[in-house]
Assembly symmetry: C2
Homo-oligomer: 515 residues x 2
């Protein structure tokens, strides 16, 4: 058994059975091992950022890590942006990176690069194997790190000679890493604050916005009069009927401060203190008013559900029904010119049961959140790290994680779609039930807004870097070129017709919605 075979067998033994791959020469022995050992599902991406983004989407739905197979140096670098997003999403991923053979590295062949230095920037766990006999052990440690209660990025670098050398040994699965226990003092303190009668906000993030935690938070809110908000950025929210209609802290700092200033106390449940995505001249970084008191119920590395459970017990909060009445009537699809509100209504009207939404709609999408509470229960996946280009890969990985059994709807801005459009090809190859609503406004609208924040209207030079209309991107042709059926809609009625058509058939479809 060579090192590569011990690696594949160890991964399978640790229940890592999906491999998103964009291999190169230094990975060929691993590919060879996959040929000889059955059980690993291999999914090809035509760019590494598609590969890492798929692994992120897979984790969010499967709640267990997949492996990626990436090429040394620049190959890994190509996948960093979506590893950054996955890190912010707290998704667990096991990256396997082939590298130059140990004895070949000193000769500095053209593709030799600082793979470790690159991996260090996004990995919670990083190791370069040094002996074929240890590859299995190293792989088991990588899986343990990725499977931690809060998912982590684990990167195992495998010099090619360890892959092909004999002496491989299968690594034993290692015990689960548990989250640090909830602090009873923190629970007690938060209960005291909640009983004080002051205006209190429970700010929920990460696991706290999934369904079981939401229900606990709702009980606390009903029992104490506290308010609930989700932090602005959440990788994965449970939404739709039967879930708590959580609003989010607004993206814009002035609006966020306005929304938060009425609370005397903000209790963080796996959330960070609200902070702007970026700094702006003369504006504060933190989005809380002076005098607001911050309390930590649970840190991001703790178990939010445990913490909320402990708080429910401490408060003796009774069961509380969810506000079904607010969303009992499904709206009619929107009509006429595409507006965010109209598209949201159309989505709420037509979304199939148990769908998954991958949202990278950016400026157009900020208004989509509220009205889609009226849709059937669904999972809403958001760009968590701000590195644009995760929407289509995350949708693809999520579809694979749900075994093609759930409809995945991408709400995708045009500019950011261009960073990972290759994901559409994988959707076609795997015949995944992915419907992409491509919001084509032919500009980097988010940046035009940011330019205005700078205090001016973009001039000719600025617009040469912010406008995408010359030439316009033809998303129907791009999708077709990648093997995905597609059509253009300029009205909400046409968009609704195409959505119905796509939801009724298998395989991927792209709707270019001109906005």
């Amino acid at each position: 058994m060579n090192g590569a075979e011990s690696l594949v067998r160890t991964l399978l033994g640790c229940s890592v059975d999906t491999c998103f791959a964009n291999p190169g020469t230094s990975e060929m022995h691993f590919v060879g091992a996959l040929d000889r050992i059955t059980g690993m599902r291999c999914v090809l991406g035509l760019h590494e950022n598609v590969v890492t983004g798929m692994a992120d989407g897979y984790y969010r739905i499967a709640r267990k890590p997949a492996s990626t197979l990436l090429h040394c140096g620049p190959g890994f670098a190509n996948g960093i942006a979506n590893l950054h997003n996955a890190r912010r999403a707290r998704s667990g991923i096991v990256n396997i990176v082939g590298d130059q053979a140990t004895y070949h590295r000193p000769f500095d062949a053209p593709l030799t690069a600082d793979t470790e230095g690159l991996a260090r920037t996004v990995s919670h766990w990083l190791r370069t194997s040094s002996d074929a006999a240890e590859v299995g052990r190293d792989a088991a440690a990588a899986v343990q790190a990725a499977r931690a209660a809060v998912g982590q990025i684990a990167t195992l670098i495998l010099p090619a000679d360890l892959s092909w050398s004999a002496g491989g040994r299968i690594g034993e699965p290692l015990p689960d890493l548990r989250a640090p226990a909830v602090d009873p003092h923190a629970v007690h303190n938060v209960a005291r604050v909640l009983r004080s009668g002051a205006d209190v906000l429970l700010l929920l993030a990460d696991q706290a916005v999934l369904a079981p935690s939401q229900r606990l938070a709702w009980r606390i809110a009903q029992a104490t009069g506290a308010s609930l908000l989700a932090s602005n950025t959440n990788a994965h929210m449970a939404r739709g009927r039967g879930r708590v209609p959580l609003e989010r802290v607004p993206y814009d700092t002035a609006q966020a401060i306005d929304a938060l200033r009425r609370y005397k106390h903000i209790v963080l449940v796996n959330a960070a203190t609200p902070v702007g995505f970026f700094a702006y001249p003369g504006k504060p970084s933190l989005q809380i008013a002076p005098g607001t008191q911050i309390h930590v119920l649970s840190r991001p590395d703790q178990d939010a559900q445990d913490a909320l459970h402990a708080l429910v017990d401490e408060l003796n909060a009774p069961h509380a029904g969810l506000p079904e009445a607010r969303v009992a009537v499904r709206p009619q699809p929107g009509e006429g010119e595409p507006t965010p509100e109209g598209l949201a209504r159309t989505l709420a009207a037509l979304m199939p049961d148990d769908a998954i939404v991958s949202n990278e709609s950016l400026t157009f999408g900020r208004a989509l959140h509220g009205p889609t509470h009226a849709a059937p229960a669904h999972d809403w996946l958001n760009l968590a790290g701000g590195a644009i280009g995760d929407g289509l890969p995350v949708a693809t990985g999520a579809a694979l994680a749900s075994q093609g059994q759930r409809r995945v709807i991408s709400l995708q801005a045009d500019g950011s779609a261009m960073y990972s459009l290759q994901a559409l090809w994988t959707q076609a190859r795997e015949q995944l039930p992915c419907t992409t609503i491509l919001l084509n406004n032919r500009k980097y609208n988010i940046l035009i807004g940011e330019y205005r924040n700078v205090g001016a209207t973009p001039g000719q030079t600025a617009m040469s870097m912010l406008d995408l209309s010359n030439p316009g991107l033809d998303w129907v042709k791009l999708a077709n070129g990648l093997g995905v059926e597609a059509a253009r809609a300029t009205s909400l009625e046409a968009c609704a017709d195409l959505m119905r058509q796509s939801f009724a058939q298998g395989g991927p479809f792209l709707i270019e919605l001109v906005i």
Copy 2:
């Protein structure tokens, strides 16, 4: 004057007048400064790897650095692969990277990342400015580093608050950094070896394969009987009529050793000792036979032309005519099924004067080199760092550097084209005279070869990661979707017709050649 304005004025004062850009929020003040200050040509790429690849191609033709404008962390990471290639190509580039404001960074907003750690992996020169008053000085130092005799990657990270803060001062241009002087002892030693009568090879790389150095090497070869070869990987060769018909060291290690074993002495002129791209079980890393003696005339950081001049003087080598007769007759275009030899003849027959070839044709292209010596004089740009996806961006940057006055021909493999296809959009936007010959074999053929090197035939799982035919990529639609006119050819005659059509008109064109 704010920091961003001082930066723009410093760049312009240092003759950096082209900016390849894919900006984000933290760069908006720089974009704003570009609006207020005239003189910088800004070119948008829809992905950072297109931006950095364009800057590489620009340098190779303009022989001076452009700037790039990149977003923090993951934005920079997206451009690393082509910065790696540029580093191997010894191209000078000034990267301007906006980052979180200094006081905002500790809050770890979602897009906060280790920009310095990422930049360190590919930069010769790296600095994060710490005061608006120093931004100009830092920018001048960055340009000095990039403009070094052998080009370098210089990365200046600019926290957003330094961009918008007042107190900017224009940096004075700094003196040119000269290459280390040629060592007279090395020249003397090599002259002695050349006079010894033994079989000697001059192995040329980098600047040594440009036209002036080639002529000097040819004089030495004619005077001494030495042989000439180019190293396998060269970013930029002067080729075609009037140039020395240099062959390259073969890519395959066994073939390379065969080609080199007849030489008792190998003289390195800016070249490295030949080494395989990768290691293989049981094969040596170095591609030279035991007993071959290696001599260094000039290191990669020295001036090859100076070194060859000194050697010509030392040997008193007379002027020598180039072997025009070998290439006096232009071939007829190829016919029938596309073969590498047929395509090479077609190219040699139809290539316009003073063209630029951007070659990322990989497996199909290895045989294109020889026959194209019969073409008119042209520049041949090669993937230098092995990170696939530089061909189309380099072509785009080269076209911009030649002010749209020279025809640029991309010889582009399909799999690698998918890493940076967004470059076609910039070709359309700038209406560049770029002709892409997209070699569509619907597989990662180079990897199928590498898999066979592992000693087996790819099985079903391996082919799921090496085959691109399900679904097939439709490059005509992809090009059209990006605003580029395109057509498909399945014969060399059809390819020749489309080449003639494209060469006769302005703007970009893509020929999908099914091979």
